[in-house]
Symmetry: C2
Subunit: 284 residues, 2 copies
């Protein structure tokens, strides 16, 4: 496993960690000033902003783009909406390419409002991913399927384990040693899984690990979405999981992604970044 | 799949659904009055109460005991505490036997306070389950491992999928057609799982389905523990899962288990029971 001490160049900040307090132009400078090697912006931050200028600013600041967050949910009650969702994702992939992102992060969605039909959601996600893979081939933009914790299975994602995401990737894009369809492994979503070690090894063999995200699981957790913990403040054995991921061949960034409405988001971004930097070097 | 219309005799009430508002003696009479065929009491309700008298009252009321809730958590930081946990569970199993329970429900626990070592928790659960299986053989009391939703992986249970629970059952008690170690399948905990259909079929082949629990997943869910929904009020396709379970050979009760601090627990138990009865017959 790589040492992270004095190696913030191996680390990335997902801007969701900062609570969207500042415009992307300021966020980029703050992340670079702290010494991080990469950034993962959100689409909402690029709205009304010149993508090419942002890409240039990121490059000039010496940062890489570890990913671009994130896909529009795929499943829909009707075909028109489904196709609109796919089209929206194609546009976002183009933007990801313009930013020079290492991958486009796919949070695939789940049950459309009023539906209880998980099997249909799974089928739509498989179909939609296949359509987006064609666009990935056309643009060279890799797709990182991010399995989400099962507590998000009703709305955010019907992909809830690494095994399920890899099964999908292998079904949609079989038999390749240079896949464009991979996974983003976020410790918050997968830490509980008894099959994790085996599935990380499998993901590595398939060359499908496109991203690795860290945060922590707080005890107690007060909110389903916005009560993630800073690394070291919860119960996840992060070094154990990072060791698995890097032993499996992953050499990309360690990306911090913390949604924390009542704690970290209330602090100045310089403080958040400083604590991230310290924890990455000491407890990850 | 069995019809539940006019068949409340096939249905059970887990007393946790009623919020522990009344002494067990009153609860028994209320459940029987509504026409249910069974009840699943909690240990806390038997504290300071004569177990034999309660067992007699349940029988006299015409009720079966679909299960007894629930095990003391198994994992511990030190060996003395681990052994104390096992001893505590043996006593509870004896009580379950005295009540005539169909099974003793095992919520196995997870990380002891201060620990991040999931692998150790898994190992302790396997070891502890093997010890309790010996007591199951001595007493004839079946053990139902209940996999809990992964959002409980830090404290309540490090068994989080049906597959994991069945793997454990097969490892601890291999090669039997009359197992004493099985599973309780609760739709709230397993509904999201893409491997559910296959694992329910497997559980059936192994004769290891000892219990089936229903409630619903509310959108949004406001609390990790006590915001379960009444059947029909959430997104779980309960008939789909019940059909799988019964096709797999399960012929036990359909047990309602709803923890709902801010809604159902605030209502009179007669009202809760009446709504349970209606929903069991119409949406399950």
């Amino acid at each position: 496993m790589r040492h992270l001490h004095n190696r913030l160049d191996l680390c990335s900040i997902n801007t969701g960690t900062l609570g969207y307090q500042t415009p992307i132009s300021e966020t980029i400078e703050a992340v670079a000033r702290q010494g991080f090697g990469a950034i993962c912006p959100w689409r909402r931050e690029l709205e009304g902003v010149d993508t090419a200028a942002t890409a240039r600013q990121i490059r000039d600041a010496g940062l890489k783009v570890s990913g671009y967050c994130r896909s529009t949910y795929i499943p829909a009650l009707d075909c028109d909406q489904f196709l609109a969702n796919i089209a929206d994702n194609r546009s976002a992939m183009d933007q990801a390419a313009e930013l020079g992102a290492a991958c486009f992060v796919m949070v695939v969605g789940s049950l459309p409002q009023g539906s209880k039909d998980l099997e249909r959601a799974w089928a739509q996600v498989a179909e939609g991913t296949a359509l987006l893979l064609e666009h990935a081939r056309a643009t060279g933009m890799p797709l990182a399927l991010e399995p989400l914790h099962p507590m998000y299975a009703n709305d955010r994602s019907c992909l809830n384990t690494l095994e399920q995401a890899l099964d999908l990737a292998e079904a949609v894009e079989p038999e390749t040693t240079t896949p464009l369809l991979g996974v983003a492994i976020d410790v918050y979503h997968v830490w509980w899984d008894s099959k994790l070690a085996g599935q990380i090894a499998r993901a590595g063999r398939l060359n499908r690990i496109f991203g690795f995200h860290v945060s922590d699981w707080l005890v107690p957790t007060s909110d389903f979405l916005t009560d993630r913990g800073m690394m070291g403040d919860g119960v996840i054995d992060i070094p154990r999981i990072r060791s698995m991921v890097e032993t499996a061949g992953y050499s990309g960034t360690v990306e911090v992604e913390i949604f924390s409405a009542d704690n970290w988001w209330k602090r100045p971004i310089e403080e958040i970044l400083s604590v991230c930097a310290e924890r990455l070097q000491t407890v990850c």
